[in-house]
Point group: C2
Chain length 410, copies 2
């Protein structure tokens, strides 16, 4: 079997933990598997490098930023590889100019274009364990790029995809984190939260994009596209984690698979906007220009030729967004702008929603029974999200978790 | 003009100093020169990385060691380049997989095989400043290598050599250090020491290999081989330093150019060795096997079929060497072994020695007049070295400096 194992920054955060990772890698190798390991920078290292750059220049050049921060993963590959070698294994650290993980040139947030499997397969053929630097690539000019935060997950799944044609007897991508797997919701909030044995790519994607931190969304999309089973598990114990796989028929019998939340939200409402074609553009274009990501846009029904628009932005961008939108008021394109940076988003996710109706109605009832006021609602095929006051967030997650029976074994 | 500037670890040791380096680089660029900058790791960084490796495994794999420590220079290239970019210059950091500084695969002490000038010339043609990571290369397989301590000097001179055919209106390699240039001897020992305006490659090589730390010996050999003028100067002020150049006729009028010393020495004498062919091999082969570098070997005239052999080793290898040689005594190949790890080496260097006789005799007289006992002597064409008690070292350097008139302007 070909196993791609990915270890995040916490898992390689100290020399002691790197030894534990080496132990785990060695077990897979001893069992006769081909093993490729993808590692992140040691916890704290990326931030240290970013701080170093910011102390040098206020706005570091993105290309040079990538050259700088990519050293973090390089250090991890060398330390893990030398540890495995000292244990008697063949191992080789590989940077992306060797693996040839080729990306576009969008420094600090590059996209993978292709991976040259040849170098990796030749290392595996030697019987060596390949230790690859996560999070980074090279562009067509040979310049170093990085994939953005959380990019190591994406590296791991993309490498698994590239190696799929060369895998003997199956393939799995194991993502080791500081949690046991994917839970029905955050156990820190709901102690009854239950670890899921499996979850579909679609559900995982919706959970990840609505606040669950366990997997990076891009890696889930890669897994879905290339059908790479992803095993999310703990680097601190041996228990089975959660398999993220293509949807199977029996998954639909469960209506709600998980509940995620995002505390990092702020709500903005632009009031009394003249309801003419192009008005949405005049509201959102200046925000996009300022690189503010807008989520959950709701436009109320128009009356008297005017409408109200509400949406959420990341809390860190709230002040900036409000200032930009005040300009609209000055230009008389809106009457006024109100906002609230003390809101949270709670999302129900489940592929069963496609075939089961009434999930939204039930959700609203559970929240209303608990005295929780819903401020915004948005739905997708397999997700319902609501924005509520942040003080109600924990309670909302708890009542929904209980209401939809997530405590009971699947 | 094409200028290759090399800045060592102290010169880029802090963000503030990197800014100073950027200022200096920018001045050369503003004067219309093509500028390539070679940087070392920030002072302390290489040792931090080595300590990290040693805390992971007692004897780190050399290949992985190079992957690890090469991140130090990479960080420096990015920080310097982003600083120059923020000042409005075009700059590009380049790692060795981009420059294609190709070495053999002798990890941790690789030798340069060739440099592909194309990438560098294309960056220069763009009008950009090229910032190259010193000390490292890649081998034919694309694996990261390093050139050993002090390797950044060698990188700089080798890059200058590779770019020589592309240089418009001349070429110079500037090595910026924490001293003003090359002195007749260490000013910390002899306050009257005088900065040399110029010195020949041969003299510089002998001074560097006999203890003067200002330039790495391999870089001097490169400069000599490819006739690259090297300007050794301070990164902390603007004064002219010392030009290291090919020997000119007038250099021979000066008998002694400089005096170097090495405190890191130990002397060993193997007594009453049977004077048969192959005996030198049986003494030195086990030392070579233990990677102990032996210097200044002296064999006394044989009497009664037996001889004594003396030599020096680095002080750090003294205990190990003594233990190895005790084996010879056990095997009855020698009567006994004596040693002294409290010795120093003092060397006189000057191309004028070739044409002026009596330098050695004068040297011995000055030392004897000062009451200093000579323990070992070794000579080369342009150098005379003596081993003396370490307590006499400073005095020896001072009397020789005065005796050979090095205080007087050239």
């Amino acid at each position: 079997m070909l196993i791609v194992q990915k270890f995040g920054g916490t898992s390689v955060g100290t020399i002691e933990r790197i030894r534990n990772v080496a132990e785990r890698v060695s077990r897979a190798k001893r069992m006769g598997h081909d093993v490729v390991v993808v590692v992140s920078a040691m916890a704290g290292e990326t931030n240290r490098l970013i701080d170093l750059a910011k102390s040098a220049v206020p706005k570091p050049d993105p290309r040079e930023m990538d050259v700088l921060v990519s050293t973090g993963e390089q250090v991890s590959t060398a330390l893990l590889s030398m540890t495995l070698i000292s244990m008697g294994f063949k191992a080789r650290s590989l940077q992306n100019h060797q693996v040839r993980l080729v990306t576009d040139s969008a420094y600090t947030k590059a996209h993978i274009k292709r991976i040259d499997a040849q170098k990796l397969t030749s290392v595996l053929k030697e019987g060596a364990i390949a230790i690859v630097a996560g999070f980074q690539g090279i562009d067509e000019q040979g310049d170093i790029t990085t994939l953005g935060r959380g990019g190591s997950d994406t590296t791991a799944v993309a490498i698994a995809a590239a190696l799929k044609p060369h895998a003997r007897n199956g393939l799995v991508c194991e993502i080791y984190t500081d949690v046991d797997g994917v839970y029905t919701t955050d156990p820190n909030i709901v102690p009854q939260a239950r670890k899921l044995k499996q979850i579909s790519f679609e559900e995982m994607f919706e959970l990840a994009s609505s606040g669950a931190k366990v997997l990076q969304t891009r890696s889930v999309l890669f897994g879905m596209k290339f059908d790479i089973p992803i095993h999310v598990r703990s680097s601190f114990n041996d228990s089975e984690g959660t398999m993220v796989v293509n949807e199977t028929l029996d998954m639909e019998s469960v209506v709600v698979t998980g509940i995620s939340y995002d505390k990092n939200e702020a709500k903005i409402t632009v009031l009394h906007v003249s309801d003419k074609p192009g008005i949405a553009h005049s509201v959102f274009a200046p925000l996009a220009e300022a690189e503010i990501v807008v989520d959950m846009i709701i436009q109320s029904a128009s009356s008297d030729g005017y409408t109200d628009m509400s949406f959420t932005v990341p809390r860190g961008d709230y002040e900036k967004a409000m200032a930009i939108l005040q300009e609209l008021v000055k230009q008389k394109k809106a009457t006024y702008v109100v906002g609230d940076d003390k809101v949270s988003k709670v999302s129900l996710v489940g592929v069963g929603m496609r075939t089961h109706s009434g999930v939204a109605a039930k959700m609203f009832k559970y929240l209303s029974d608990a005295g929780i006021n819903i401020q915004l609602i948005s739905t997708s095929e397999i997700k319902i999200s609501v924005v509520i006051n942040e003080k109600d967030m924990k309670k909302a997650v708890a009542v929904l978790h209980k209401g939809f029976g997530l405590e009971d074994a699947k």
